[in-house]
Point group: C2
Chain length 335, copies 2
């Protein structure tokens, strides 16, 4: 199959290298990595299974290379191309075939190495959460959300050893009721609830994790929430644990979603669980499968995705619990 790629992670997946100005072209059995003079040297050292071609006009060079393949179908992902470059390309290459999420679809089943990378990223992330919870309890009271966000980012980056897989969420009390809350100047008080959603990359592969917990000064082990909060927490926790324990290969993704959603709905909070139960994780933080009400994807061995049920009560609180799991021996294994 012939294809043409623009997306950095899609290109990295094919040849082990990518940069912010490149096109990858597969034509029959040959592969080409086209980039400009800034990156040629690195590309030649780090890429594999492709010929590195230098050009100051990548689209023009791609058209040239397509040459004798001009009338064969060539797949592309319409999400990856801006109008300007694409119109130039399709003017000269008549047989381009739109294939939404071309690379993410290829990447839905992970190799053992990919799972190992995500697992390593997840393990370090888990330890960063422990460090951060301890920090909050010992030194966090009185600090602002944006200072705490910076602190969590620093712990995750571990003096520059890791990149973040996304900008972390650190949200206090009612700020956690927005699924994508951005840090504010709000200060942490004793007995506040904090929601933290964060991850790092290991060898470019992402981790993704959320905890929601009570902060008690100098008492890291304490988790005695108010009865109202504890009730919500317990429902989310139950949804999270039951979903993970019941996932099996052969199920539809929508059935996985239903396990979590039914528990939350049956407890009266269905309208407060406003997003899907999970999403794939890999080179991108959001990959396939999507674990939603509508997804017909069949769960297979070596898929990797999050399980993250949640209840959001506007102006009061959001509780979300998230782990990334891999399907191993037909069941979910928390990474």
């Amino acid at each position: 199959m012939n294809f043409i790629l623009k997306n950095e992670n899609a290109i990295y997946y094919e040849c082990g290298y990518s940069c912010d100005n490149s096109i990858f072209l597969r034509l029959g059995s040959e592969s080409f990595f086209i980039t400009d003079s800034r990156y040629t040297e690195e590309a030649k050292t780090q890429s594999r299974n492709c010929e590195v071609i230098e050009s100051d006009n990548l689209v023009k060079k791609a058209i040239e290379l397509i040459g004798s393949f001009i009338s064969e179908p060539i797949e592309y992902d319409p999400y990856d191309w801006n109008i300007l470059e694409f119109d130039e390309l399709r003017e000269k290459v008549p047989n381009l075939k739109s294939h939404k999420h071309f690379s993410k679809t290829k990447r839905i089943i992970k190799t053992a190495t990919e799972i190992e990378y995500i697992s390593t990223a997840s393990k370090y992330t888990r330890s960063a959460f422990s460090q951060f919870r301890e920090y909050l309890s010992l030194k966090g009271i009185g600090k602002r959300e944006n200072e705490l966000h910076y602190k969590m980012s620093s712990i995750l980056k571990n003096k520059g050893h890791f990149d973040l897989s996304f900008d972390p969420i650190v949200a206090i009390n009612e700020n956690s009721s927005k699924p994508h809350s951005r840090p504010t100047a709000k200060r942490l008080s004793n007995s506040d609830i904090v929601l933290v959603d964060a991850g790092i990359k290991f060898n470019r592969y992402c981790s993704d994790r959320t905890e929601t917990f009570l902060v008690q000064k100098n008492d890291y082990a304490n988790s005695q929430m108010s009865p109202k909060v504890q009730k919500i927490y317990d429902i989310v926790k139950q949804a999270h644990e039951e979903t993970i324990s019941k996932i099996k290969i052969g199920m539809k993704a929508s059935e996985v979603d239903k396990i979590a959603r039914d528990i939350i709905t049956n407890n009266g909070f269905g309208a407060n669980f406003v997003h899907s139960t999970g999403h794939g994780v890999g080179l991108d933080i959001h990959e396939f499968p999507i674990i939603s009400k509508k997804s017909d994807t069949i769960i297979e061995e070596n898929m990797v995705f999050t399980v993250e049920p949640a209840i959001y009560i506007p102006q009061f609180l959001g509780v979300r619990i998230e782990e990334t799991i891999a399907i191993k021996n037909g069941r979910a294994e928390v990474l």
Copy 2:
């Protein structure tokens, strides 16, 4: 003039707010900010001069709003749209007009407030460079490039008060000969040359600055480079200073470029100055005007751009000196 925007900074410029899923629409005298339910609340509080519209299908909602304007010309920037959304839009809206760099063109002349923000970002960046140079001299010897990169990033972020305007470059000796060098595991030795290119954002406006300097253990003031390096440094320094002193309104950008390029070329290093002399700075780190050989843009009052001549000698060294300047009273003022 009617227009439709997708780019975050372009949208922020129009209404003082933006997020990663929004469309901005100007139709006659009315403006609409379309976003999904995650951002509606924030958008309503923080945006100005526009109506906030919530939708889970932004393009469809935009088509609906265009309504009676359907046959009027509506401008868009082809760099901002992916094929998929744009094809949906242009199927229903026949009179879309391509306008490359629509927003960047609007933003080429800065207001006093914008210049003040860039100036504040620049001043803090300058002080971060001083702190980093002192750190290198006192504690940097033996540390790896990627550790130093992390240290410089931390100083710039100042405990989370600032975002970086781009991922900084910290390059030792021969690594500085690549204009876009990424940090490696190379260790800093006494008397090494270091190139640092970095900036922060203040109220979303970027700064951009480069220094190239000698690191001498415990001797921060020392700058006695080897004669060969000093010669290259002096040529770049001269190109930098003469360019800044000779910039005047009414010149073409290409004439500004020529001042720097001629000095470097006349000293025999023309082939080693492989990029343009500068670029505009604002909400984006790369804006207009572009200060290149080919640019016919006329320099005007209140433009803001970098002056960054350089000499790169592969496998040996790169020297670049960069300041961001504003055109005030007809001349360049270093911010």
